[in-house]
């Protein structure tokens, strides 16, 4: 029986974060990128929880609640933006939104 230590959780969180980050870098669909952001946020949440459990303190879990609240608010705004982008160019590709560039 392998004991599931804190390291495992942290490793999982790191993998999830990397996937999310990679997705941000290589995908151009706004919806997918949004999901990648959520993935990264949740990996951070996982880290908080793991650390909270490891040290036996409550602060990490409180932070997670804040992150969840912020993330849900962000979803509302973000999805609205994505919908209006889609309406405008009938595609969710962010590469078409290059008007602000040097």
């Amino acid at each position: 029986m392998i004991e599931v230590s804190t390291d495992w959780y942290l490793t999982l969180a790191a993998i999830l974060f990397s996937i999310g980050f990679l997705g941000m870098m290589i995908r151009k669909n706004a919806l997918i990128m949004f999901m990648c952001i959520e993935l990264m946020l949740n990996s951070v949440n996982l880290t908080f929880i793991a650390a909270s459990r490891h040290f036996g303190t409550i602060e990490g879990q409180i932070s997670v609640f804040f992150v969840l609240v912020v993330a849900s608010a962000e979803v509302v705004v973000g999805l609205a933006i994505i919908v209006s982008i889609f309406k405008k160019q009938s595609s969710a590709s962010v590469d078409l939104l290059r008007t602000i560039r040097g």
Binding site: M24, M25, K28, M33, V94, D95, L97, R98, R101, G102
Partner: protein, 629 residues
């Protein structure tokens, strides 16, 4: 009593301001009344002060008006001694005469009131200069004289030549003023005061190191103001101003300022042999060049202008040979006959309908007898024919130069040559205008109006008799100046037979000059005998163009300066300053162009940057050791 000095000095200024303010309500008659009465009052007060001075045996009267600067203490002070007394009388007296003449000459000019405003300011400046009690007040007057002469020379500023002549006078004067200014600074630095008496007593006390430098600085100032070589070319051009204003510039104010100043600083000047030598050599050079140039001038006023320069040269010769009394004496006599000649020329110009070429005149004596006679007196006076004024003063200068001995004999001989040339060109001047019948139509010429003739008559009388104020038999002027030049070593005239011989030699020079002028220009002796002077045309061209000094100056200073500034503009301003600024701006532009390509608008590249710097930050956290308080 001292406060009356303020009346003399400031009355012209008040008149100028008054005329300026109420000029709209004045017609010419009313304005004449105000300005001439003010000038008369000024002259009367000046005469009263001079009598007072005489009673006090020329003991200087000092007036401390107010404290100008506190540390070092410099007062706005005036002094009235023999020297400033003579100058004061001269300036106020000639101001009256010339203003009377001006009322007729300038009548119906559109800027009639403005002319008298400038005129009065000019007189005020000169009075401030001569009555000054210290160097700084003198400099104040000195600069004001420069300014007001500029205003008068370019009075008809709609004419471009007049505006240019005014500029030239002002700019050339600035060169001299620069020397004066340096001299002032050195004076304050060396003596710690500007007061004449204090400075002079310190000079007499002991050795001053940079005495020669100070003296030379002041001499440069005098050269500028008194139109000495090489700063004289503004004076012939200054003819662009109204003729009575020229008379004022040439006779009483402006050009005499340099001579006055050198006599004023004679207690310093006497200790500097170098300074005296510079003065006499320059004076001699100026006298000769100007006399030579006057021989072939066609403009009635230019001949007189060159003759003024030449006579100023004589005054500088006198100063250089230590004959300060003779210099002031010549200044006084010259003021009268030069004012006479200029006003006479003004009358002629007025009657000739502003024709100034003397070849277009001729035989005017039949039409303008009084002008011709008075100008004839002026011509004889300047040529040094006894017993007229010019003889006494010029002979005194020549004799004093001779009395110095040594190589001053050469200076004497050259001055004699200048005196001879003076007689020659003045003879030519008078003969061509009044005597020789050049076949021009002069039927509509009349004698000048009374307001012009009367000043001529007054000046004519003075030109005859003013010489008697200082003859070998009666040292009037020398007594007046005695207190002023108390500490100064003055070259005295030679005694007895030498003086008589010298007098006859100088009379001979003047007389020969006049006779030669008659022979050459009226009898036309050269064409009569079919004699050809070698290089005649070249010499005449050289004379008419003042030895091409103007051209040389133009090439060296004007063209040279222009090309220098052009080069500086291209090299320093264009290449270095502009280049540097442009380089910096292009550097920013090109680098920002390069950097701005990273802002390509693709979100994923921003994410990459973000991730990169995030990693960097994490790496930094790991690399740095943990600090626990």
């Amino acid at each position: 009593m001292e406060l009356l000095l303020l009346v003399v000095v400031f009355l012209p200024l008040l008149t100028a301001i008054g005329i300026k303010i109420i000029s709209k309500f004045l017609n010419e008659l009313l304005l004449n009344f105000i300005t001439i009465n003010s000038a008369l009052l000024s002259f009367a007060t000046a005469s009263g002060m001079f009598v007072l001075l005489f009673i006090n045996k020329y003991e200087p009267i000092n007036l401390k008006f107010f404290t100008w600067i506190t540390n070092p203490e410099i007062l706005f002070e005036f002094t009235l001694d023999g020297l400033s007394g003579v100058m004061m009388l001269l300036v106020t007296g000639l101001s009256v005469v010339i203003q009377v003449f001006s009322t007729s000459y300038m009548s119906k000019d559109e800027h009639y009131a403005k002319y008298f405003v400038y005129f009065n300011v000019f007189v005020f400046s000169m009075l401030l200069l001569v009555m000054s009690g210290n160097f700084l007040v003198m400099f104040f007057g000195w600069e004001l004289v420069g300014l007001s002469s500029y205003l008068l020379i370019s009075f008809w500023s709609k004419k471009q030549s007049a505006a240019k002549a005014g500029n030239k006078a002002f700019i050339l004067n600035r060169i001299g003023d620069f020397g004066f200014l340096i001299g002032l600074m050195l004076t304050l630095n060396t003596f710690g005061t500007f007061n004449y008496d204090k400075v002079f007593s310190k000079v007499l006390e002991g050795n001053i190191d940079n005495l020669t430098v100070i003296v030379i600085c002041f001499i440069i100032g005098a050269f500028g103001k008194s139109a000495q070589f090489p700063l004289f070319s503004w004076l012939p051009d200054a003819m662009e101003g109204p003729t009575p204003a020229s008379a004022l510039i040439h006779a009483a104010t402006m050009v005499t300022a340099g001579v006055f100043m050198l006599v004023r600083i004679s207690p310093i000047l006497q200790f500097s042999e170098t300074g005296k030598l510079i003065v006499i050599v320059t004076g001699l050079l100026t006298a000769l060049i100007a006399a030579f140039s006057a021989i072939n001038q066609d403009d009635i006023k230019k001949v007189l202008a060159y003759s003024t320069i030449s006579q100023l040269g004589f005054m500088f010769i006198a100063i250089g040979s230590g004959a300060y009394v003779a210099a002031i004496f010549h200044l006084v006599t010259h003021a009268f006959f030069k004012a006479l000649l200029f006003l006479g020329a003004g009358a002629v110009i007025h009657e000739m309908h502003h024709e100034q070429n003397i070849h277009k005149m001729g035989n005017l004596k039949s039409k303008m007898p009084i002008t011709a006679t008075t100008m004839g007196i002026g011509t004889l006076a300047i040529s040094g024919i006894p017993p007229l004024a010019g003889f006494w003063s010029k002979d005194e200068i020549l004799a004093s130069t001779f009395a110095n001995g040594g190589f001053y004999y050469i200076f004497w001989a050259l001055s004699l040559l200048a005196a001879f040339m003076t007689a020659f060109y003045m003879g030519r001047h008078w003969l061509l205008i009044f005597h020789k019948d050049s076949g021009n139509d002069i039927s509509d010429i009349h004698e000048a109006p009374k307001a012009m003739v009367r000043p001529l008559l007054i000046l004519g009388v003075f030109s005859v008799f003013i010489g008697f104020i200082n003859t070998p038999f009666f040292h009037g002027l020398e007594k007046v100046l005695h207190e002023t030049l108390h500490y100064v070593e003055i070259t005295h005239l030679p005694e007895g037979i030498t003086l008589i011989v010298l007098a006859f030699v100088s009379i001979g020079a003047g007389f020969t000059g006049l006779v030669l002028a008659y022979l050459v220009y009226v009898v036309e002796i050269f064409s009569y005998f079919k004699f050809k002077i070698p290089f005649k045309d070249e010499i005449l061209a050289l004379s008419a163009n003042t030895l091409y000094l103007n051209k040389v100056g133009d090439i060296i200073f004007v063209k040279g300066m222009k090309s220098l500034t052009r080069k500086t503009a291209v090299l320093i301003d264009g290449l270095m300053i502009d280049g540097l600024v442009n380089k910096i701006s292009t550097l920013f532009y090109s680098s920002s162009q390069k950097i701005s390509t990273s802002q390509n608008g693709l979100i994923r590249s921003y994410v990459v940057y973000f991730g990169f710097f995030m990693l960097l930050l994490i790496g930094l956290f790991i690399a740095t050791p943990l600090v626990v308080n």
